[in-house]
Protein backbone atom coordinates (compact mmCIF):
# COMPACT_ATOMS: atom_id res chain seq x y z
CA UNK A 1 0.00 0.00 0.00
CA UNK A 2 1.19 3.46 -0.80
CA UNK A 3 0.43 6.50 1.27
CA UNK A 4 0.38 9.89 -0.36
CA UNK A 5 -0.33 13.45 0.59
CA UNK A 6 -1.72 15.92 -1.92
CA UNK A 7 -1.44 19.63 -1.21
CA UNK A 8 -3.65 21.99 -3.17
CA UNK A 9 -2.90 25.71 -3.07
CA UNK A 10 -4.29 28.76 -4.82
CA UNK A 11 -2.22 30.01 -7.72
CA UNK A 12 -0.23 33.20 -7.24
CA UNK A 13 -2.35 36.21 -8.09
CA UNK A 14 -5.67 34.51 -7.31
CA UNK A 15 -7.46 36.44 -4.59
CA UNK A 16 -7.79 34.45 -1.34
CA UNK A 17 -10.38 36.25 0.80
CA UNK A 18 -10.28 33.44 3.38
CA UNK A 19 -6.51 33.86 3.75
CA UNK A 20 -7.03 37.61 4.19
CA UNK A 21 -9.65 37.00 6.90
CA UNK A 22 -7.21 34.66 8.69
CA UNK A 23 -4.48 37.32 8.47
CA UNK A 24 -6.76 39.79 10.17
CA UNK A 25 -7.75 37.26 12.86
CA UNK A 26 -4.07 36.54 13.58
CA UNK A 27 -3.49 40.23 13.91
CA UNK A 28 -6.42 40.45 16.34
CA UNK A 29 -4.76 37.71 18.42
CA UNK A 30 -1.75 39.94 18.80
CA UNK A 31 0.58 37.61 16.88
CA UNK A 32 3.16 39.90 15.39
CA UNK A 33 5.08 39.79 12.17
CA UNK A 34 2.53 37.86 10.10
CA UNK A 35 2.92 38.62 6.42
CA UNK A 36 0.62 36.87 4.03
CA UNK A 37 -1.59 33.83 4.71
CA UNK A 38 -2.83 31.67 1.85
CA UNK A 39 -5.30 28.89 2.62
CA UNK A 40 -5.08 25.51 0.89
CA UNK A 41 -6.24 21.93 1.20
CA UNK A 42 -4.55 18.66 2.15
CA UNK A 43 -5.71 15.20 1.03
CA UNK A 44 -4.21 12.04 2.53
CA UNK A 45 -4.75 9.17 0.13
CA UNK A 46 -3.90 5.48 0.36
CA UNK A 47 -3.46 3.50 -2.83
CA UNK A 48 -3.31 -0.21 -3.52
CA UNK A 49 -0.03 -1.61 -4.84
CA UNK A 50 3.60 -0.74 -4.14
CA UNK A 51 4.70 0.82 -7.42
CA UNK A 52 5.46 4.48 -6.82
CA UNK A 53 5.46 5.34 -10.53
CA UNK A 54 1.99 3.88 -11.01
CA UNK A 55 0.82 5.66 -7.86
CA UNK A 56 2.18 8.98 -9.12
CA UNK A 57 0.29 8.56 -12.39
CA UNK A 58 -2.96 7.88 -10.55
CA UNK A 59 -2.41 10.70 -8.07
CA UNK A 60 -1.72 13.18 -10.85
CA UNK A 61 -4.87 11.99 -12.63
CA UNK A 62 -7.01 12.51 -9.53
CA UNK A 63 -5.57 15.98 -9.03
CA UNK A 64 -6.11 16.99 -12.65
CA UNK A 65 -9.62 15.53 -12.83
CA UNK A 66 -11.05 16.34 -9.42
CA UNK A 67 -8.96 17.34 -6.41
CA UNK A 68 -7.58 20.57 -7.87
CA UNK A 69 -9.31 23.08 -10.11
CA UNK A 70 -6.30 23.94 -12.26
CA UNK A 71 -7.92 27.20 -13.35
CA UNK A 72 -7.22 28.59 -9.89
CA UNK A 73 -5.18 25.98 -8.01
CA UNK A 74 -1.81 24.24 -8.11
CA UNK A 75 -1.17 20.84 -6.59
CA UNK A 76 1.81 18.97 -5.23
CA UNK A 77 2.00 15.21 -4.61
CA UNK A 78 4.15 13.63 -1.90
CA UNK A 79 4.39 9.85 -1.94
CA UNK A 80 5.08 7.71 1.14
CA UNK A 81 4.28 10.48 3.48
CA UNK A 82 4.71 9.58 7.14
Amino acid sequence: MIKARIIVTLKTGVLDPQGKAIESALSNLGIEGVGQVRQGKVFDVTLEGDDAASAKTRLDAMCEQLLANTVIENYAVEIDHG
Binding site: V14, L15, P17, Q18, A21, L66, N69, V71
Partner: protein, 226 residues
Protein backbone atom coordinates in the same frame (compact mmCIF):
# COMPACT_ATOMS: atom_id res chain seq x y z
CA UNK B 1 -41.44 23.00 -26.69
CA UNK B 2 -39.81 20.64 -24.24
CA UNK B 3 -37.40 21.34 -21.45
CA UNK B 4 -35.47 19.28 -18.90
CA UNK B 5 -34.17 20.11 -15.45
CA UNK B 6 -31.19 18.26 -13.99
CA UNK B 7 -31.68 17.09 -10.41
CA UNK B 8 -28.77 16.53 -8.03
CA UNK B 9 -28.76 16.00 -4.27
CA UNK B 10 -28.44 19.33 -2.50
CA UNK B 11 -29.96 21.53 -5.17
CA UNK B 12 -32.72 23.74 -3.79
CA UNK B 13 -33.76 25.97 -6.69
CA UNK B 14 -35.00 23.11 -8.84
CA UNK B 15 -38.63 23.69 -7.88
CA UNK B 16 -38.41 27.39 -8.75
CA UNK B 17 -36.87 26.48 -12.10
CA UNK B 18 -39.54 23.85 -12.81
CA UNK B 19 -42.26 26.40 -11.94
CA UNK B 20 -40.70 29.03 -14.21
CA UNK B 21 -40.33 26.64 -17.15
CA UNK B 22 -43.87 25.39 -16.65
CA UNK B 23 -45.21 28.95 -16.66
CA UNK B 24 -43.26 29.94 -19.75
CA UNK B 25 -43.73 26.81 -21.86
CA UNK B 26 -47.10 25.63 -20.57
CA UNK B 27 -45.57 22.19 -20.02
CA UNK B 28 -43.95 20.65 -16.97
CA UNK B 29 -40.26 20.04 -17.72
CA UNK B 30 -38.79 16.55 -17.64
CA UNK B 31 -36.55 15.95 -14.64
CA UNK B 32 -33.32 14.01 -14.97
CA UNK B 33 -31.72 12.48 -11.89
CA UNK B 34 -27.94 12.57 -11.35
CA UNK B 35 -27.44 8.87 -12.06
CA UNK B 36 -29.10 8.95 -15.46
CA UNK B 37 -26.84 8.63 -18.47
CA UNK B 38 -29.10 10.07 -21.17
CA UNK B 39 -31.29 13.13 -21.53
CA UNK B 40 -34.69 13.23 -23.18
CA UNK B 41 -34.92 15.03 -26.52
CA UNK B 42 -35.55 18.62 -25.42
CA UNK B 43 -35.16 22.23 -26.58
CA UNK B 44 -33.46 23.43 -23.39
CA UNK B 45 -31.60 21.73 -20.54
CA UNK B 46 -31.32 23.60 -17.25
CA UNK B 47 -28.93 22.93 -14.39
CA UNK B 48 -30.55 24.81 -11.50
CA UNK B 49 -29.16 26.39 -8.35
CA UNK B 50 -28.52 25.16 -4.86
CA UNK B 51 -25.69 23.41 -3.08
CA UNK B 52 -25.16 20.14 -4.87
CA UNK B 53 -23.32 17.63 -2.68
CA UNK B 54 -23.10 20.27 0.03
CA UNK B 55 -20.51 22.24 -1.99
CA UNK B 56 -18.00 19.61 -0.82
CA UNK B 57 -14.49 20.03 -2.23
CA UNK B 58 -15.52 23.08 -4.33
CA UNK B 59 -18.95 24.38 -5.34
CA UNK B 60 -20.16 22.16 -8.19
CA UNK B 61 -17.04 19.94 -8.21
CA UNK B 62 -18.70 16.66 -7.29
CA UNK B 63 -21.83 17.27 -9.37
CA UNK B 64 -19.71 18.03 -12.43
CA UNK B 65 -18.38 14.44 -12.34
CA UNK B 66 -21.81 12.80 -12.02
CA UNK B 67 -23.18 10.58 -14.83
CA UNK B 68 -25.92 13.04 -15.79
CA UNK B 69 -23.35 15.76 -16.48
CA UNK B 70 -21.67 13.54 -19.06
CA UNK B 71 -25.07 13.36 -20.76
CA UNK B 72 -25.39 17.17 -20.51
CA UNK B 73 -21.94 17.55 -22.10
CA UNK B 74 -22.96 15.24 -24.95
CA UNK B 75 -26.16 17.22 -25.52
CA UNK B 76 -24.22 20.50 -25.42
CA UNK B 77 -21.76 19.15 -27.99
CA UNK B 78 -24.72 18.42 -30.27
CA UNK B 79 -25.86 22.03 -29.96
CA UNK B 80 -28.71 21.63 -27.45
CA UNK B 81 -29.08 24.86 -25.45
CA UNK B 82 -27.92 24.42 -21.85
CA UNK B 83 -28.53 26.98 -19.10
CA UNK B 84 -26.78 26.80 -15.74
CA UNK B 85 -27.95 29.14 -12.98
CA UNK B 86 -25.97 29.77 -9.77
CA UNK B 87 -24.78 26.31 -8.66
CA UNK B 88 -25.60 25.28 -12.23
CA UNK B 89 -23.05 27.84 -13.48
CA UNK B 90 -20.49 26.52 -11.01
CA UNK B 91 -21.18 22.97 -12.18
CA UNK B 92 -20.81 23.90 -15.87
CA UNK B 93 -17.45 25.55 -15.13
CA UNK B 94 -16.27 22.56 -13.09
CA UNK B 95 -17.41 20.25 -15.89
CA UNK B 96 -15.32 22.22 -18.40
CA UNK B 97 -18.35 23.27 -20.45
CA UNK B 98 -17.57 26.90 -19.61
CA UNK B 99 -14.17 28.45 -18.89
CA UNK B 100 -13.06 29.94 -15.57
CA UNK B 101 -14.02 29.25 -11.99
CA UNK B 102 -16.38 30.62 -9.35
CA UNK B 103 -14.63 31.38 -6.13
CA UNK B 104 -15.74 32.44 -2.65
CA UNK B 105 -17.34 35.91 -2.64
CA UNK B 106 -14.68 38.55 -2.09
CA UNK B 107 -16.44 39.83 1.04
CA UNK B 108 -16.78 36.22 2.32
CA UNK B 109 -20.50 36.72 2.84
CA UNK B 110 -23.47 34.93 1.37
CA UNK B 111 -25.32 37.54 -0.67
CA UNK B 112 -29.08 37.40 -1.20
CA UNK B 113 -30.34 40.55 -2.85
CA UNK B 114 -31.34 42.11 -6.13
CA UNK B 115 -28.67 43.33 -8.52
CA UNK B 116 -28.69 45.11 -11.85
CA UNK B 117 -27.36 43.40 -14.94
CA UNK B 118 -26.25 44.98 -18.17
CA UNK B 119 -27.04 42.89 -21.23
CA UNK B 120 -23.61 43.16 -22.83
CA UNK B 121 -24.45 40.89 -25.74
CA UNK B 122 -28.09 40.80 -26.88
CA UNK B 123 -27.29 38.59 -29.86
CA UNK B 124 -26.75 35.27 -28.11
CA UNK B 125 -29.50 32.66 -28.25
CA UNK B 126 -30.21 33.42 -24.59
CA UNK B 127 -30.48 37.19 -24.84
CA UNK B 128 -32.27 38.23 -28.05
CA UNK B 129 -35.37 39.24 -26.07
CA UNK B 130 -33.34 42.11 -24.60
CA UNK B 131 -31.89 45.27 -26.09
CA UNK B 132 -28.13 45.60 -26.34
CA UNK B 133 -26.97 47.45 -23.24
CA UNK B 134 -30.34 47.10 -21.48
CA UNK B 135 -30.17 47.16 -17.71
CA UNK B 136 -32.34 44.50 -16.09
CA UNK B 137 -33.07 43.59 -12.49
CA UNK B 138 -32.26 40.12 -11.22
CA UNK B 139 -31.96 38.47 -7.80
CA UNK B 140 -28.76 36.76 -6.64
CA UNK B 141 -28.29 34.30 -3.78
CA UNK B 142 -24.85 32.73 -3.48
CA UNK B 143 -21.66 32.34 -1.49
CA UNK B 144 -19.34 31.42 -4.36
CA UNK B 145 -20.09 33.73 -7.25
CA UNK B 146 -16.74 35.43 -7.63
CA UNK B 147 -15.97 34.69 -11.27
CA UNK B 148 -12.30 34.28 -12.09
CA UNK B 149 -10.43 33.40 -15.25
CA UNK B 150 -6.86 33.97 -16.41
CA UNK B 151 -6.03 36.86 -18.71
CA UNK B 152 -5.97 34.79 -21.88
CA UNK B 153 -9.44 33.41 -21.11
CA UNK B 154 -10.80 36.86 -20.26
CA UNK B 155 -9.43 38.22 -23.52
CA UNK B 156 -11.04 35.38 -25.47
CA UNK B 157 -14.37 35.98 -23.71
CA UNK B 158 -14.13 39.69 -24.46
CA UNK B 159 -12.89 39.37 -28.05
CA UNK B 160 -15.60 36.87 -28.99
CA UNK B 161 -18.39 38.73 -27.22
CA UNK B 162 -19.06 35.84 -24.88
CA UNK B 163 -19.81 37.95 -21.80
CA UNK B 164 -23.60 38.13 -21.88
CA UNK B 165 -24.32 39.81 -18.55
CA UNK B 166 -22.29 42.11 -16.32
CA UNK B 167 -23.23 43.46 -12.91
CA UNK B 168 -24.19 47.09 -13.54
CA UNK B 169 -24.37 50.33 -11.60
CA UNK B 170 -21.91 49.20 -8.93
CA UNK B 171 -24.00 46.20 -7.90
CA UNK B 172 -21.25 43.55 -8.29
CA UNK B 173 -22.12 41.45 -5.21
CA UNK B 174 -19.16 39.08 -5.17
CA UNK B 175 -16.00 40.65 -6.59
CA UNK B 176 -16.34 38.88 -9.95
CA UNK B 177 -13.56 39.92 -12.29
CA UNK B 178 -14.67 42.54 -14.86
CA UNK B 179 -18.15 42.43 -13.24
CA UNK B 180 -18.88 39.18 -15.11
CA UNK B 181 -22.27 37.72 -14.20
CA UNK B 182 -22.91 35.40 -17.14
CA UNK B 183 -20.97 33.93 -20.07
CA UNK B 184 -21.58 31.62 -23.02
CA UNK B 185 -19.36 28.90 -24.47
CA UNK B 186 -17.59 29.34 -27.82
CA UNK B 187 -20.47 27.70 -29.70
CA UNK B 188 -22.95 30.00 -27.96
CA UNK B 189 -25.34 27.26 -26.81
CA UNK B 190 -24.25 27.02 -23.16
CA UNK B 191 -24.96 29.93 -20.81
CA UNK B 192 -23.88 30.06 -17.19
CA UNK B 193 -24.96 32.88 -14.89
CA UNK B 194 -24.93 33.48 -11.15
CA UNK B 195 -28.19 35.52 -10.89
CA UNK B 196 -31.57 33.78 -10.78
CA UNK B 197 -33.78 34.82 -13.72
CA UNK B 198 -36.30 32.13 -12.76
CA UNK B 199 -37.21 34.23 -9.72
CA UNK B 200 -38.30 37.26 -11.73
CA UNK B 201 -40.70 36.01 -14.38
CA UNK B 202 -44.18 36.80 -13.10
CA UNK B 203 -45.65 40.16 -12.04
CA UNK B 204 -46.21 38.62 -8.60
CA UNK B 205 -42.45 38.21 -8.29
CA UNK B 206 -42.20 41.98 -8.47
CA UNK B 207 -41.04 42.02 -12.07
CA UNK B 208 -40.57 39.97 -15.20
CA UNK B 209 -37.03 40.96 -16.20
CA UNK B 210 -35.80 37.35 -16.02
CA UNK B 211 -38.26 36.03 -18.59
CA UNK B 212 -36.24 37.16 -21.57
CA UNK B 213 -33.55 34.53 -21.03
CA UNK B 214 -36.05 31.68 -21.26
CA UNK B 215 -38.02 33.34 -24.05
CA UNK B 216 -34.85 33.88 -26.06
CA UNK B 217 -33.64 30.32 -25.55
CA UNK B 218 -37.03 28.82 -26.38
CA UNK B 219 -38.02 31.25 -29.11
CA UNK B 220 -41.28 32.29 -27.49
CA UNK B 221 -42.55 35.84 -27.48
CA UNK B 222 -43.66 37.78 -24.46
CA UNK B 223 -47.26 37.84 -25.65
CA UNK B 224 -47.46 34.08 -26.06
CA UNK B 225 -45.82 33.51 -22.74
CA UNK B 226 -47.80 36.03 -20.74
Amino acid sequence: MKTAVVLLPGLNRDRDMIAALTTITGKVPATVWQTETALPDVDLVVVPGGFSFGDYLRAGAIAARSPVMRAVAEAAAKGVPVLGVCNGFQILCEAGLLPGALMRNAALRFVCREVKLEVTNARTRFSTAYEQGQIIRCPVAHHDGNYFADEATLKALQDHDRIVFRYADGTNPNGAINDIAGIVNAAGNVLGMMPHPENLIEPDHGGTDGRGIFESALGVSQSVAA
